[in-house]
Symmetry: C2
Subunit: 648 residues, 2 copies
């Protein structure tokens, strides 16, 4: 793609293959994709590729051994030949990209046979893309990378085959196998993608299919009314069920491998089953029934809470809402209904505890939703590599028996951070989040630092690897340091969520409070004296979170209202921790900016310039965060900085 | 006008004239207007009207005695005949409306000859109306009464002759004689009103002219570049001056009685002379030179300040800005250049001290700008009659020698609160602000309570007069009570400015701070220890404002940062004053709502319902203000309410 950043698939990544002799065995659309990739590389670098076996010696054999659509593959090397075998087309494709990642190493020495298969079957990106530009949210809701890859001026883009194909290739290369192509807030125009505009979705699906990616669609629960002209959307109404059955049949007529529906119902103003006295299980199961005959799945989002709360009412706790709404429904959801749960109880703050819903619904398939788009983490103007946060989430064990990555039987989902920006993600370094998500979804227990190095090596080559690792590895903790402290969250500008506003959500209807007063700060969510939220966890964690003495520092203010003089495990008081981390965070950004400046000349100048420019904004913004937060708490607490630094 | 509220000119207001015999002497367009008004009334009520004198007995004689365009008139009654004489058409028209206001009283007993003439020559409304709907500000910037009266869908309205004519009539009936028809923030579409779209302005002018109203236009300083294709807008450049001269000649060709230009330059992002190293006087005088040959005036706004201030920098004080910018230019402005000054130093907060610029530029013609549109005073969802505030402003004496009303030699201007709403002003009771402005502009020393009674009698008739007076008279002080205390201002939601957000403008670039901490609140603007702003006043006031001991309570926090325990003249502490006024303010709204409910049946049901509905919102909003402000200061100060009322 002319003018588009190659991201983690630069030409050079294919040199080790493209300079060698490859044999491809088997047939089918994804084998054709594999062949095309290798043939392109050979055309560039002088190697050769054959299909079916003439007897010459090969450096690489890519062999499809079965008729399935499995994703597993085996890799080995012996007798001077590297072999990838898979029983399904997707497996062969993933095997190819495994070889790409290994580079020359794949062709050196010998490698024992390794079997690779994803730990999580569904590895999905949700695009919050609007078809028609929304007057407030724009083309992409919470998008920080330009317009939509899929939609422009109210229609599917004309040049789908170019940009979207390149996108599918990047996704396959990091293991993503599902994409929902429109915003979960389904507005009027977007609703029609389900019916008379399904052809546009089919066109996108056709471009993504060769890369093993199934297409999903966000739909509105009110579709039978707004599209079907029915007088109800009651999920138990026979007419409604019939409408969904017929509509879904037509969807599969257009897209035989359609993935399914994504639904945000009874949430932030979206319609849902509550209007008919029905449960979320009733709603989800109705759609599951329509999708079932075709192998489709409904992803029903658990992001349900009262967004018209009264800040005066301290008995309502938004953090409790998902658990309170959904745990009673455990066991009631159909087998092809997946409950999609945000990883934290609130909404993608820089630090949250795990949602207590995860692990609490053993008879329900859960998908865990992460947010690659940096809504609350710097909006792709700040470097904030989320790998460590996601890894902490996925390795967390709500109960001894299983980690989150294992409990997410319904899949791992990330809200996409991609748009039509030439660098895909606005901030070129935000590509690392997309890549890391895909690789962690494949293997939730993987070391995120290793994934980061993989991404750096593919994207930048060997030269600036150490410096880039240093810049990115700690960037999430740096961001946390200069923004909201100790898990309290929500100290952001209302609406757009960029930049500090300590009281911005304090007297709001959104259920987002910190209760800072002259004596202390934080939300008492204990069972003994607070909202009881801590009691939603399994016993071991409930006990840990219940007391400020055992609660981890990093989420202390999420669970407890403590005095500014409360001493943390670090030995510092809360107020001194606030000051120290905010000064440290800015200093870390200053250092990272210098490191970046030192890398000029080691990469494409446009890429370097884009990042350098964003570092200026990040530093400005980090200083603003530091000064507002510190001034706010100095004014409130009256406690000066122990080190006498300037607080305005 | 069908479906449009008659406001202060209901049919009944003309009954005393329309049932009698009237003689009209003289000729000219405004005499025709007078004749039309009387003839309409007679057609409805059975009286008679003649022009030129047949010898029958008349109850009312309206006589133009000269060829001028003066606004004065004389009124007297003797020998059973009421006589209005004027040497100018506008005077005769104002005399007619004087008779309307008097009603039957005008025809009873005898009245000595009274001469009426306006104290202020220019009595103007500035409409902040956009032609093309602005993506953020909408059709009318800071408009709370629907769309624009003048503009719709990017063009002058088609039905100008209906609605705008009725508007002109209402304005004449309260004494307004000038209207600027477009927003001072002049965007791309609106810029062209000056040139190829002047015909649309001329059409509006033609409708307003019969009511003695001259039309003015807001223009962009950059017009020579954006419209004229010049490479500069430098006010000393001969080409630029020539462009303005030619353009202005064409304007007068289309509108011979055109009033002049309104300019917001070098303010909040608008272009201005600073870009060329020129002064505001250079800029204003260039336009004055272009307008001079035709008798036109430029209104140059003094609302110039740094809107990209750093909140950390306590040496910059936005309140100082207008004085600092303009006082050094005193004596440099042309005779037909008027410096238009907002009445307070900030921006139309519910309580501000007088702008120190007023009275400090004796060799400059100043216009004083008030804001009828209730941007910061409830946005026409709250009852807030501004008469007492404006009267305080106009009667204030910056020096012993003259009150503000006398110093405003360049006119009194209000930002209009009118739109295409059927009740003109959204909230029907907000009509009182429009009427009061007109009448105060005519006579700045008038008792506002008398004007209020006049408006009530004309609009509602005698029945609910006492109740309505009670509801309206204290409404500004009520609004002040439940919103920002003691002159501190700015505790509003950023952007739209509706509803409370105590820290909403605290860490912003707008120069709008309260500096509340755990010990106290307010801005030190003293000379001794603060920004020095207090020293911008003439000595007597500078001394008063300099010390918290002499500074009036109602602006105490504007001038001083004081402890929450500081004792006010009322004997209360600041913190207790905050609590008390906020509880009182809400209680006063509750009472007013009850009074209003008791008036059902005494007026048009639609009007009653509209107000009743707005009282619900006002009460909700007032409670929100009370609780947020009280909670904020309780959390910060730690001082409980002396009366133990509930603070959340």
């Amino acid at each position: 793609m002319q003018g588009v950043d190659p991201a983690w698939l630069p030409d050079g990544a294919f040199r080790p293959i493209g300079t060698r002799r490859t044999l491809i065995r088997g047939s089918g659309p994804l084998v054709d994709t594999v062949h095309g990739e290798v043939a392109d590389a050979c055309a560039r670098f002088g190697g050769s590729v054959s299909r079916e076996g003439s007897p010459e010696p090969y450096d690489l054999v890519l062999e499809l051994t079965g008729p399935g659509d499995g994703e597993a593959f085996a890799f080995e090397r012996g007798d001077g030949r590297t072999t990838v075998t898979a029983s399904g087309g997707p497996g062969l494709l993933y095997g190819l990209f495994h070889v790409v990642r290994l580079g020359d190493t794949a062709f050196q020495g010998s490698h024992d046979r390794e079997e690779h298969r994803p730990d999580v079957a569904l590895r999905m990106l949700d695009h919050w893309d609007n078809v028609a530009v929304h007057p407030v949210m724009g083309q992409v809701e919470r998008g920080y990378a330009g317009g939509s890859l899929f939609w422009e001026d109210g229609r599917a883009r004309g040049e789908l085959l170019g940009r979207v194909r390149a996108y599918g290739r990047l996704l396959a290369a990091c293991g993503i196998n599902a994409v929902a192509v429109n915003n979960v807030n389904v507005h009027e125009t977007e609703a029609r993608l389900l019916t008379d505009r399904i052809g546009e979705v089919a066109a996108i699906a056709a471009v993504l299919r060769p890369y093993g990616i199934r297409t999903h669609l966000s739909v509105t629960f009110a579709a039978p009314m707004v599209l079907g002209g029915l007088s109800t959307a009651d999920p138990l109404d026979a007419g409604v069920r019939g409408w969904w059955a017929r509509t879904t049949a037509r969807v599969y007529g257009a897209i035989p491998d359609f993935g399914g529906y994504v639904v945000k119902a009874d949430s932030e103003g979206q319609p849902g089953p509550f209007a008919y006295g029905r449960s979320h299980a009733d709603g989800a199961n109705m759609l599951a029934a329509a999708l079932g005959p075709y192998g489709g799945t409904v992803h029903w989002r658990a992001f349900v809470y009262d967004h018209r709360q009264d800040w005066r009412d301290r008995t309502t706790d938004r953090a409790r809402a998902a658990y309170d709404h959904f745990v009673p429904l455990d066991g009631q959801f159909a087998a092809n209904a997946v409950l999609q749960v945000k990883h934290g109880p609130m909404d993608f703050q820089v630090r949250e505890p795990l949602s207590p819903l995860i692990g609490a619904m053993p008879r329900t398939r859960l998908a865990v939703e992460l947010q690659a788009t940096q809504e609350y983490t710097g909006q792709q103007r700040h470097v904030c590599w989320l790998g460590p946060m996601w890894s902490e989430v996925l390795r967390f064990r709500p109960e001894e028996s299983a980690a989150v990555g294992e409990l997410a039987r319904g899949g791992l989902v990330a809200v996409s951070n991609v748009g039509d920006d030439p660098f895909w993600t606005g901030h070129p370094l935000a590509q690392a989040n997309l890549y890391t998500f895909g690789r962690l979804a494949w293997e939730p227990g993987a070391d995120p630092g290793r994934i980061l190095d993989e991404w750096i090596a593919l994207t930048f080559g060997p030269r600036p690897a150490a410096e880039l690792h240093a810049v990115l590895d700690g960037s999430w903790r740096t961001y946390e340091k200069y923004t909201a402290p100790l898990g309290v969250g929500w100290m952001v500008q209302p609406g757009h969520h960029y930049g500090p506003s300590v009281d911005g959500y304090e007297y709001s209807p959104w259920g987002t409070y910190h209760f800072a007063d002259r004596d202390g700060v934080g939300v008492d969510r204990s069972v003994a004296t607070g909202t009881g939220y801590a009691g939603q966890y399994a016993e071991q964690w409930a006990e840990v979170y219940e007391s400020p003495d055992t609660c981890p520092d990093e989420v202390l203010l999420f669970f407890h209202h403590v005095s500014y003089n409360h001493v943390l495990r670090s030995g510092k008081t809360v107020i001194q921790h606030i000051y120290d981390t905010h000064f440290e965070g800015v200093a870390e950004v200053e250092r990272a900016r210098e490191v970046w400046a030192s890398l000029a000349g080691l990469m494409d100048p446009a890429r370097h310039a884009r990042v350098a420019e964003r570092y200026e904004e990040q530093l400005r913004s980090a200083r603003e965060w530091r000064d507002q937060i510190n001034s706010y708490f100095l004014r409130k607490s009256g406690v000066g900085d122990a080190h006498g630094r300037r607080i305005y």
